[in-house]
Amino acid sequence: MFFRLWFLSLMAISSVNAEDYKLVDFSEEYSDNVDVSGGLLIGYQLIGSTLTKSKKHIYLSKPDDVDKVEIVISTIDGVYSASMKIEFIRESNGWLPIHFPSEHAEKLKGYDQSELVAYGFTRKKDRAKKTYLQIFPVSWELPSANSKLKPKFFINSASSMPRYNIKRKDSFCKKINAEVKTAFNFYCDISEDFPNGNNLILFNTGSGKKKKYLVWN
């Protein structure tokens, strides 16, 4: 996992520029009553130890064959929410810097990486024609071998003990310690043996209710 991050960051420096993609749609809202993302999974992001004040770029890693990606960004207090649709013009790989054209960048400076979380995804259909999301990792800083970033899920659950399951191994999520939790209230540390490639992740939030995502890593 960490070797892959380092390798991808090297590739990112050499192979990516702003013309690799075009921004198809961008919408954002900043107010006390933002309608936050309605799903269970609110973020899949690499989190560093330092506060990144500049939120000009968000770095995305994706498989080569995916050319349409949506990125949803939320603040933990539910005050801000943004949605971006991106189309990649040519095949790109590595950590791709996506310009974050927010008008509220100044207001978002005060948010820690773990309070302003994002997830990149593309919509897919399974054999039963049900829609599911393939999730890609994002980060507010360019991942490198020295940045010691750790991948985390951020979820919003009414359960008191949500957990996720990868390859039949259960891991419990932990409560976020913040003053106001509206958009998400739990984070899930991902173990270091999280396999590369596509992983089927099952979130279990109690009462037998399970939600699945395909997480690319």
Partner: protein
């Protein structure tokens, strides 16, 4: 230097000798009232403050401070050793649940029938506790859950708790399930009175539906009794805590500690009310005395001046 300047500017020398001590007493009493008022205004709930929280809630959570927490007696229950699927068999015999240090225990009950207890160990390496039955003692995995069925034959579930306690869940915009919420409650606050440090009770603080109540972390463990009855809904709880602060959190807002205005503090503390009343009446009495004695003095001076003028007139 400054004191003498103030003294000169106030012209205390003009005040007759027999009234000066009354003026001093007036100033002293005024100072005392201002001092007491300042103490009341700026005093906060402290280590001596006791909170008694009574609540009816669909959700209680607690984390014992040490492994000597009270065991939990269960009967008429189903178990889940992975917090997912429950055993189909309803076990009618009694059993005892012991909570491990660092584990978190959650109790949820929406309607009349089932009470769910979930125990989560500190981390993947730690057990949530153990389960003692008549036949054996089983060490629990990191997560253990039991569904207790309350009915006419098993109408009550009760447990004593001691540790970090919270009531109701903090409401977020999650849409994976319905939040178990706090239905109603109130917090009775007992503090020490201003004068004799004896206990007095402030007006109870009401807790509204959907609010989340929790206690500050750096305080002695809260103690309480949790009870669920077949004929009622949700779970009833009484929690006692000393010192620290009690926080109430509403949807999309930060938790705020329970506070009281200084007017409430004065009006609820009968000792303060009586002390302030006596001091104010005393001030009024002194003011009247000063005024009366000054009038007498003025009258006396006036009579003497008249007599002197008459005497001068008679001589001339």
């Amino acid at each position: 230097m400054i004191f003498s300047q103030i003294k000169d500017s106030l012209e205390f020398d003009l005040i007759p000798y027999n009234i000066r001590w009354l003026v001093s007493l007036f100033l002293l009493t005024t100072f005392l009232i201002v001092l007491l008022l300042c103490i009341t205004v700026f005093s906060k709930f402290g280590e001596s403050t006791k909170y008694t929280t009574s609540a009816k809630s669909e959700f209680f959570q607690y984390k014992p401070h040490d492994k000597n927490s009270s065991s939990i007696l269960i009967k008429n229950y189903r178990t889940s050793f992975d917090c997912d699927e429950y055993s189909p068999q309803l076990i009618k015999e009694t059993a005892v649940l012991n909570i491990a240090k660092g584990a978190t225990l959650s109790m949820t009950r929406f309607g009349n029938g089932e009470l769910k207890i979930e125990m989560l160990g500190l981390d993947a390496e730690h057990s949530a506790g153990n389960l003692e039955t008549d036949y054996d003692e089983t060490e629990l995995p990191i997560c253990f859950s039991t569904l207790i069925e309350l009915n006419e034959l098993n109408p009550v579930f009760s447990v004593n708790i001691i540790g970090d306690i919270s009531i109701g869940l903090e409401l977020t915009d999650a849409n994976d399930a319905y939040f178990p919420i706090l239905l109603e409650g109130e917090v009775l606050i007992t503090d020490l009175s201003l004068i004799t440090n004896s206990a007095y009770q402030l007006s109870p603080q009401k807790i509204n539906k959907g609010e989340h109540l929790y206690f500050s972390e750096n305080q002695s463990p809260s103690k309480g009794l949790i009870r669920a009855e077949y004929q009622s809904n949700a779970i009833d709880g009484v929690i006692f805590s000393n010192g620290g602060e009690v926080y109430i959190q509403q949807y999309r807002t930060a938790g705020k500690p329970i506070e009281t205005s200084f007017l409430n503090r004065i009006s609820d503390d009968n000792e303060s009310v009586i002390t302030f009343s006596i001091l104010i009446i005393f001030i009024q009495f002194i003011s009247f005395s000063i005024s009366f004695l000054l009038r007498l003095k003025i009258l006396k001076n006036y009579t003497e001046e008249n007599q002197n003028e008459k005497a001068i007139d008679e001589i001339t």
